[in-house]
Symmetry: C2
Subunit: 233 residues, 2 copies
């Protein structure tokens, strides 16, 4: 056995969480200032080491729950970051995860556990520790990709939402405006977006029709649609 | 420093390569029988441990090059597999990569280094060691996703190819047939697929028109097309 497993290459494995949220219609990420060495005082993603008796996924979930107090947050592994000198003092391989938090509905919890955590808009980030900027860049690219192909956007929307709200969300994540008519035409072909029949009159006299999301069973090769499913891009 | 870095949770980090190739119009993956314990004699992906002084990406590249003798193979990280007991005797976190090999052009190299490596069709795999079946399932899903959104398919095609060849490749990867007329219509809207003007008459009297792939500069928000770019699905 000794020839196969060599203790020489044992290393630390960490997790880092890129937690996205919408605040004041801007796409933000949760950061904090490190309270310990190395790099004390610098801006960082939230993370921690993987313990011997927990899976890497569980470690990420633990970090997220400890910070936000929430268990049911959408979370997706982004990949491993394994450059030799990515941390100054030790060899640490970090597995990054991105998470989506509906800030408006849940902002009471965030910050109550970690006093130093703050939402920072992704288009005006401070210099970050280690390779955390690269992690955010990759998470953003993954979010933009995944939001086209999956119903991820509904993780960031409240239970009921207007189409204007939904469009603003896409625009914020993509970083550019969408044509309103094309957007509504495409949403019209999405069977999972259901008209509730309710009108929200808090924003305007005419009001905004409220929609909700209902999960559809995923297509299999047998029942996949003959046309490409509509996506927003 | 001691409070932050704890040696108690040091572990081994490995890489595993899911190497895809097309053989006899079937999507295959490169496997070998382990020549050592644990699990000697069982079918496995090709992998190895990450050394202290190499990045995780470099380790994957090293494993691939050692096996195939090739440096310029397309390779993409799939993610980390970190269940506590994924290997029986030690805690090992493995980072999986998938690679695409153009077998018909390069099959002389593969197998010359590793005598035990063989191509096995993904739809008739033997029982595999550890979580390697899960890795292949995820790699296949990633390949099917990425081939829609990126010019990945050209990594598996020769320099010049017929549209029938290209369609067969998509069908093999997706696992279901595509409509020929729709396929050709979509390819017609891809500016990166160039008609060479050459006809390959080796397969039929009428011959097949040969195309080639020319890389386009990626769209930016400023010059992105007003219509969704064509994809094959």
């Amino acid at each position: 056995m000794q020839e196969y497993y060599s203790d020489n290459s044992m290393m630390l494995v960490a997790v880092d969480c890129i937690i996205f949220g919408l605040k004041d219609n801007r796409l933000c990420v949760l950061l904090y200032r490190r309270g310990f060495e190395p790099c004390k005082g610098e801006w960082s993603l939230l993370g921690g080491f993987v313990n011997k008796n927990e899976s890497v996924d569980s470690a990420a979930r633990r970090v997220l729950t400890t910070l936000t107090g929430l268990n049911d947050v959408y979370m997706q592994q982004l990949g491993a970051f394994g450059a030799v000198n990515r941390e100054p003092d030790r060899r640490v391989v970090s597995v990054a995860y991105y998470a989506l938090l509906n800030v408006s509905e849940r902002n009471t919890s965030v910050g109550s556990v970690s006093d130093n955590a703050v939402w920072v808009a992704v288009d005006s980030l401070p210099p970050l520790v280690f390779d955390h900027q690269e992690m955010i860049d990759m998470a953003l690219a993954a979010l933009r990709r995944d939001i086209k192909a999956t119903p991820l956007v509904f993780e960031l929307l409240p239970e009921m939402f207007s189409l204007t709200h939904m469009q603003t969300l896409y625009e914020t994540i993509y970083g550019y405006p969408l044509d309103k008519r094309n957007f509504r035409k495409r949403v019209g072909t999405m069977p999972e977006v259901i008209d509730t029949g309710l009108i929200d009159k808090t924003g305007s006299r005419r009001g905004a029709r409220l929609f909700t999301y209902r999960k559809q069973s995923p297509p299999t090769p047998e029942n996949r649609p003959s046309h490409k499913p509509s996506t927003i891009s």
